[in-house]
Homo-oligomer: 342 residues x 2
């Protein structure tokens, strides 16, 4: 018979500045009998993502804030371990948004079955082959209107989204791809593994100066994961008609007091720039187009990735905080150990 | 016979901060004989516009900087007083970009003949029926994608572009039009004469607070002539999917040191906003569409305007500086007195 104890991470308090362990509560909940149409899923991987920090605050946003005392929701992938719904059998792999727990039970239509493909680890559905990849693709195409030959600059390029942006830009015909990252090791990976033409360590000097050196002929597209001085650097480096897709601003998420913006916004006028923000919820219709292209690139061996894995649902908050500090390369994931046979 | 002495205002030095009279030089030049294909034009009105401040600096921009020792170019309207080109007869009214002088002589194809229409003062071709109106129309339509029902906020709304934006937004079906201006008198004009639903004096309090009061249900479109704290106010007031057309930033043109930007740029991401700058040069193809619509609205008596007139080419710099200080309501123009019969 199936286990029924679920370990869940809940939001205990709204963080001010950097979150701490005190802002979270780990609850063990005994799941009840399956209701009609419900399934029970044991997660294999749980995602921790920068956007979650925003939902921990109650500031107005496209996405509703997490409720205090409730589980943190977000992407996860697991396997059905009990089912009261004929269309979703035990053993099926499912993606869902139930988030930070090891065992979850809900209506079958809140889970989406995904095929198990030889050579495609399940975890990839949570990043390069999933929402992370779609985020990168959407920002480059629908938001920034990237064209073949464009010089593309990606901030926070060694993260999950950033590594996807760099590679997708290359597949779409970018002329030159430039990335920033927060350590020499990451900078090395960007050029040696991820195919970036140039990269710099933003902790080693002013991004404005370093970007100007890396892009002597200017940039056409900026994909921003970092905000702050990176946007300022991009505004200085933009060619006429340049386009910025603002996806994240991790440098600002944990500052209690908002920092002033770039001092060169007037370039937006004089160079005819477009700065557009987006959250993925409005662009899910691009999913089929993305899936078709990405699965092709992946099958041809053109896509690489890194994962930084933390084991155990009880370490989810550690994983989240480490990710916010930039301890990861590529995608930060929490792995849930399989249940030992009893 | 035609006069041949031209008074021209030249750029003598690049201003740092606020321009002064020392940055300009008034030259009297004797024009030579007309060459083949040339015409001589006596101006009736000369335009002073905020964008000219940008061209006095040598910062990179879509538009080339003015050259030191050369005449300040820009919009003007006058009448042909001598012609060596059959297609442009003496007496024809012409628009041109030769700028700050009373008498100008050049190839006929650098002038554009405009019809004299009863009830349409010539000066209007330099603002509401000309580039100023086209700028307003372009920002609202091609840049901000204004839709009927939208709440539109215009900064610096009592200026030449601002009064055009408010009225065009109304004609295009805006639900609510809100403006800011720099005096109680201007604020009064916006609501009493120009049809704004609400207006506030940005010198009397924080634009952020005042805009929130004027737009309790948020704004959808922002047309910016001012920059600085107005952009910050708009970013706070935007509804999801809002669009900003950045046309000018007069608050920043005369600051020697660039000021920091808004502290709420993260709203661009969380609300899915688009912030786009533009200069008119790339949108001149909208001219026929604009002319057709605007001439219709004008003929129906739906368009009003103000002009602030300064007499005499020798007072052009005064007019320019007064305009930068906000002394004008509507369009600031320099009027050239007709030549007395000799």
């Amino acid at each position: 018979m199936s286990e029924n104890l679920s370990t869940q991470i809940q939001l205990a308090a709204r963080p001010s500045g950097w979150p701490t362990h005190e802002d979270f509560h780990t609850a063990t909940v005994a799941l009840g009998e399956l209701g009609p149409g419900q399934v029970r899923v044991r997660n294999e991987f749980v995602s921790v993502d920068p956007y979650m920090r925003g939902r921990m605050s109650d500031a107005r946003s496209y996405v509703a804030p997490y409720e205090l005392g409730q589980q943190i929701t977000g992407g996860a992938i697991g396997r059905v371990v009990a089912s009261a719904e004929a269309s979703l059998q035990v053993g099926t792999v499912v993606l869902h948004q139930h988030g930070w727990s090891d065992l979850v039970q809900d209506a079958a239509d809140t889970f989406r079955a995904v095929p198990e493909t030889p050579g495609v680890p399940l975890s990839l559905r949570l990043h390069i082959l999933g929402m992370t990849g779609l985020t990168a693709y959407t920002g480059l195409t629908a938001i920034a209107g990237m064209q073949p030959g464009d010089t593309v600059f990606v901030s926070g390029a060694a993260g999950a989204v950033g590594t996807a942006v760099g590679q997708i830009a290359r597949q779409l015909g970018a002329g030159r791809v430039i990335g920033s990252a927060g350590s020499a090791e990451k900078v090395g990976l960007l050029t040696s593994k991820y195919g970036f033409d140039a990269a710099f360590d933003y902790k080693e000097g002013d991004p404005r100066t370093q970007l100007a050196e890396a892009a002597p002929e200017g940039i056409d597209v900026f994909f921003d994961n970092v905000g702050g001085d990176h946007l300022e650097a991009a505004l200085d480096a933009f060619n006429d008609g340049g386009r910025a897709a603002l996806c994240g601003a991790i440098s600002t998420y944990n500052t209690a007091k908002p920092a002033p913006g770039p001092n060169n916004l007037s370039n937006i006028i004089t160079r005819g720039l477009t700065v557009q923000g987006f959250t993925l919820g409005h662009y899910l219709h691009l999913s089929p187009e993305f899936n078709e292209k990405m699965s092709g690139w992946f099958a041809e061996g053109r896509i690489v990735y890194d994962e930084t894995i933390v084991d155990g649902i009880e370490h989810t908050v550690d994983a989240f905080l480490d990710m916010m500090r930039g301890a990861n390369t590529g995608k930060m994931l929490v792995r849930i150990a399989p249940v030992r046979a009893s």
